[in-house]
């Protein structure tokens, strides 16, 4: 019979997993956004035609 892990160990595990997965989650969110006119700004989604560089004209 294995003992239950203490709460402190569970909290450390939760924080560690969130630090591991937060950047990956951010990548997923950013993958749905578009580059803004001044660089990375996922709040701005330009509607102009796509340029060869991957950017869009505003």
């Amino acid at each position: 019979m294995r003992p239950k892990a203490p709460l402190s160990a569970k909290i450390v595990t939760l924080i560690a997993f969130s630090v591991l997965y937060l950047p990956l989650l951010a990548l997923v969110v950013y993958s749905f956004a578009a580059v803004g006119p001044e660089g990375l700004d996922p709040g701005v989604v330009p509607k102009g035609p796509l340029q060869p560089s991957g950017a869009r004209c505003v």
Binding site: R2, P3, K10, L20, Y21, P23, A26, L27, D41
Partner: protein, 284 residues
């Protein structure tokens, strides 16, 4: 004939050793020998190697500027290893004591970050913790910070990048060690009056020492030579020995000095391992 057959059976099959020995010889020992020869040579005028053998590259490496970079690298690698151990041990313990279903899920969750390229992960960390990133925005939104926290190009960023990158290397060996541990020994220690902390330090930790050692080696060795994460997250402010060696080979084109620095790093890692193993042998 009767006596020679068992002798033949117990003889190591030398042919089976050939691929492994050949691999080590061709891809490890011969390149290392070339690096050792390069380290004694001199840099040519146009970046080539001039075979005038001397110890000047090693004397140059003993300069205070390079010693400080080496010391910083050792400090950061040691700090990363200790951090991974302090975070990884509770994680491995939670995994080993969880129900089989949760255990499998947690194991998969530890491995999944490996599916992403670590350069992409380093950039993702930079974005998340950056000045315009969600963490800073949230902290400023709730009034915790007045100005955004400077994350990029700091030693903290390098440390965080290295810990998130190497944490699975620590967790997996620790999990294997704790999973094999006989938990009734902990119960016995508690029955005999040991506090949870005493039971941890006197029973659990010594009996899972092999996992701690393996994990520490898996983290410390690559962390000491790391050059991509310091480059991406530390910027030009953080110069570690890995960056210095890379610069010698790719920018300065001083291959002999780069080779000398590489050999010094290899010797440091080997010496620390040898000292540790000798101490272990003495203890046992």
């Amino acid at each position: 004939m009767g006596s020679s057959a068992p002798a033949r059976a117990s003889r190591p099959p030398l042919l089976l050793l050939l691929p492994g020995v050949g691999w080590f010889l061709w891809f490890l020992l011969i390149p290392l020998a070339i690096v050792a020869v390069y380290s004694l040579a001199q840099k040519g005028t146009y970046g080539g190697v001039v075979y005038e053998l001397s110890w000047t590259n090693y004397q140059r490496a003993a300069d205070w500027i390079y010693l400080r970079i080496l010391f910083n690298s050792l400090r950061l690698a040691a700090f990363t290893t200790v951090s991974c151990l302090l975070i990884g041990f509770p994680m491995a313990y939670v995994m080993a004591t969880a129900s089989p279903r949760v255990r499998s899920l947690l194991l998969i969750l530890v491995v999944i970050p490996f599916w992403t390229n670590f350069v992409v992960r380093a950039y993702a960390i930079k974005v998340v913790f950056g000045e315009q990133g969600p963490i800073n925005q949230l902290a400023m939104g709730i009034g915790l910070l007045k100005e955004p926290f400077q994350f990029a190009n700091t030693e903290f960023a390098v440390w965080l990048g290295m810990v998130t990158n190497y944490l699975p290397f620590m967790v997996l060996p620790l999990y294997v060690a704790i999973d094999k541990f006989e938990f009734s020994l902990l119960e016995a220690a508690r029955d005999l009056g040991a506090s949870p902390i005493r039971a941890f330090f006197r029973v659990l930790l010594p009996l899972t020492k092999q996992g701690v050692i393996s994990g520490s080696i898996f983290v410390f060795t690559p962390a000491l030579g790391e050059f991509v994460i310091p480059d991406l997250l530390g910027g030009s402010r953080t110069m570690l020995i890995g960056n210095l060696i890379t610069d010698q080979f790719l920018k300065t084109r001083d291959w002999p000095f780069g080779s000398a620095l590489s050999l010094i790093v290899i010797l440091i890692v080997m010496a620390s391992l040898a000292i540790y193993l000798r101490m272990e042998a003495k203890e046992s």
